[in-house]
């Protein structure tokens, strides 16, 4: 297929997906039993100002026009105003998002660095004890409620053993000392040359990201093992052995080369699910990221903030999907 046509198809797909996401958040916003006019004006609004606000918010228009208006607003970056913070939701989200990204990125690095080799090792030792051990560990990782594990880890490493610092991104003492350039505390501290803050922030990051990473180790190891077993059965692996290649080269060059593309998809997917999983982890570790922001907004029925946050996470999801799709076309000779 010509590249241009393929590119167009991809573009249409992404646009349709975004529109679908907007439709869902829009509809959720409509079924909320909270009156948006009242929440904007307060309970004691006069009938007159109520009607005026209703028109102003476009609530008297037909539903499809309201939707178009909503799409237009979102495209202009207007996600509404948060009732809780009285600031534009987009501003809030941009402020808290780096904290979540920091957490999820470290977690996915842990996941990939441990998960891929574990999966390969399990596959090459199929049916023997390393395989069973890795498989069982994976199943355990899939079965632990992550928020509970966080609580228990705080209990053990913070309260009992005093190895880990408490909740939060840095100790209270350091808070706000490094200029928020990127919003990622570790990076900001390094940029400001504050090594103390950097180490402190890293120390704080370790426990929550390790716990978040545990889930993705389990997922990535399991998928890697499955892909790898599929490849090791293939005849080209026999060919590579007949050529006299070492087992290391057969496994890490030939077999792994063939699963690189699906693995990237898996890692992208698990990155996305980590962004999502941060909702629960952040609550436990009082980590001031998007997850905590959404949860707090939920509990105070701040729908603009909830839907805005949902939209941003959804958009990141779509971007990650797009990215793994593009990488697939770039890396797999059969897809070019």
């Amino acid at each position: 297929m010509p590249t241009l046509k393929r590119g167009l198809t991809l573009l249409v797909t992404v646009a349709a997906t975004l529109l679908g996401l907007l439709l869902v958040t829009f509809l959720i916003g409509r079924v909320v039993p909270i009156d948006p006019v009242l929440s904007a004006l307060g309970d004691r609004a006069s009938a007159e100002s109520y009607a005026q606000m209703r028109t102003q918010l476009g609530l008297d228009l037909p539903l499809w026009q309201q939707f178009l208006r909503y799409v237009g607003d979102v495209l202009e970056g207007d996600l509404g105003t948060s009732v809780l913070t009285s600031r534009p939701v987009l501003e809030d989200v941009l402020r808290v998002f780096p904290a979540t990204m920091e957490l999820a990125t470290v977690a996915v690095v842990i996941g990939a660095v441990l998960g891929v080799p574990a999966g390969v090792f399990a596959a090459t030792h199929r049916g023997r004890w390393p395989d069973h051990a890795i498989r069982l560990l994976g199943l355990i990782g899939h079965s632990v409620p992550i928020f509970w594990l966080g609580l228990m880890a705080l209990l053990l490493f913070y309260a009992k053993l005093d190895w880990a610092p408490g909740p939060g991104r840095v100790d209270v003492f350091y808070e706000g000392m490094a200029d928020p350039v990127t919003g990622i505390v570790t990076v900001d501290a390094l940029l400001a040359g504050e090594t103390d803050i950097f180490w402190n922030a890293l120390h704080h990051l370790l426990l929550p990201s390790a716990i978040l990473g545990l889930y993705s180790v389990a997922y990535i190891a399991r998928m890697t093992r499955g892909f790898m077993l599929d490849q090791l059965r293939q005849e080209y692996i026999t060919t590579a052995r007949v050529k006299g290649l070492s087992e290391t080269r057969v496994v890490w060059r030939h077999a792994l080369g063939n699963i690189a593309v699906p693995l990237i998809t898996v890692i992208a997917l698990s990155y996305a699910s980590l962004l999502e999983g941060s909702v629960l982890t952040e609550t436990v570790f009082a980590w001031p990221g998007l997850g905590l922001y959404i949860t707090n907004s939920l509990l105070s029925a701040d729908m603009n903030a909830v839907l805005g946050g949902t939209l941003v996470v959804g958009a990141v999801f779509i971007a990650l999907n797009l990215l793994s799709d593009l990488l697939y076309r770039l890396l797999d000779p059969r897809a070019r």
Binding site: E235, T238, T239, V242, K243, G244, L245, P333, R334
Partner: protein, 281 residues
């Protein structure tokens, strides 16, 4: 070592796989010796012909078990060889071509790099030297435009060309013995003949021995020097290819009779009735 000493000696080769009900024997006591000749191993599916070929390279997948009174390549015991020594032997001394290039070539590596890799692993030559040799080898298997084919991925070449690439890759380290496991079964008859001609020429030019595993009695009889006929893991008959028509074992005779022929009038073909006694050789 003199030239008339056997290339390969196999005595009482056995391959077995554990199953729920005990060990299942795929190869049950196969013996033969091979010089610089083309030896055909013929049999129906499940006769153990492929497993015999693979066990020589110690490529029987676990949990399969290989045992033999003697399995020696130029006098060296293959079953006692260390994994490292075995890697030296594979490719460099003994190579193998498999049935379908669609599956036996690595799909995400250009064919050129796969051939060059086969050369470099045994010669420790530089990248440029390996590429030069690979292009020469592509020309040797009569590929018209080696430079262009070198950069292709396996899915971009036809079956016949894929099998030539496979042959180029296997012959580039200049092995002494080639095991060809149904190398032309996935190809059309005319392409099949062309690929066989290439194998034939390269073998005689390089003085290689060849084990040609196939289910096609006619093809083996016309291509090889000597034939082993396998049934249920055993060699039931061994003869010169030119004397196949005079085979004595009832299984061989039955197989020959059950083949339809263009020059015979249509009519019922004799059906093979299997004698349990054949299982004991």
């Amino acid at each position: 070592m003199t030239d008339d000493a056997p290339l390969l000696e196999v005595a009482n080769l056995r391959v077995a796989f554990p199953t729920r009900t005990g060990m299942a024997e795929a190869v049950r006591g196969v013996s033969f010796t091979l010089g610089r000749e083309k030896l055909g191993i013929v049999g129906e599916s499940g006769s153990g012909k492929s497993m015999t070929g693979r066990s020589i390279l110690r490529l029987v997948p676990p949990p399969g078990r290989v045992a033999a009174d003697r399995l020696a390549f130029r006098g060296e015991d293959l079953l006692a060889a260390s994994p490292r020594r075995m890697r030296d032997i594979r490719g460099r001394r003994i190579a193998m071509v498999m049935q379908d290039p669609k599956y036996s070539l690595n799909p995400v590596m250009t064919v050129g790099r796969q051939i060059a890799e086969a050369y470099r692993v045994h010669s420790h030559a530089g990248a440029a030297e390996a590429k030069r040799r690979a292009l020469e080898m592509l020309a040797a298997v009569r590929i018209r435009d080696p430079e262009r084919v070198y950069e292709r991925y396996p899915h971009e070449v036809s079956g016949g060309m894929g099998q030539r690439i496979m042959i180029a890759m296997m012959l580039i380290p200049d092995p002494d013995l080639l095991i060809a496991d149904e190398p032309t079964s996935a190809l059309d008859v005319t392409v099949q003949m062309q690929v066989l001609a290439i194998l034939d020429d390269l073998c005689s030019q390089r003085g290689m021995g060849m084990i040609f595993v196939s289910h096609d009695l006619n093809l083996v009889a016309s291509f090889c020097d000597r034939i082993l006929i396998m049934y249920a893991g055993r060699v039931v008959e061994s003869c010169r290819a030119s004397e196949l028509h005079a085979a004595t074992h009832p299984y061989t005779r039955g197989l020959l009779a059950s083949l339809p022929r263009i020059d015979e009038p249509p009519g019922d073909l004799p059906v093979l009735s299997r004698d349990p006694a054949w299982l004991e050789g």
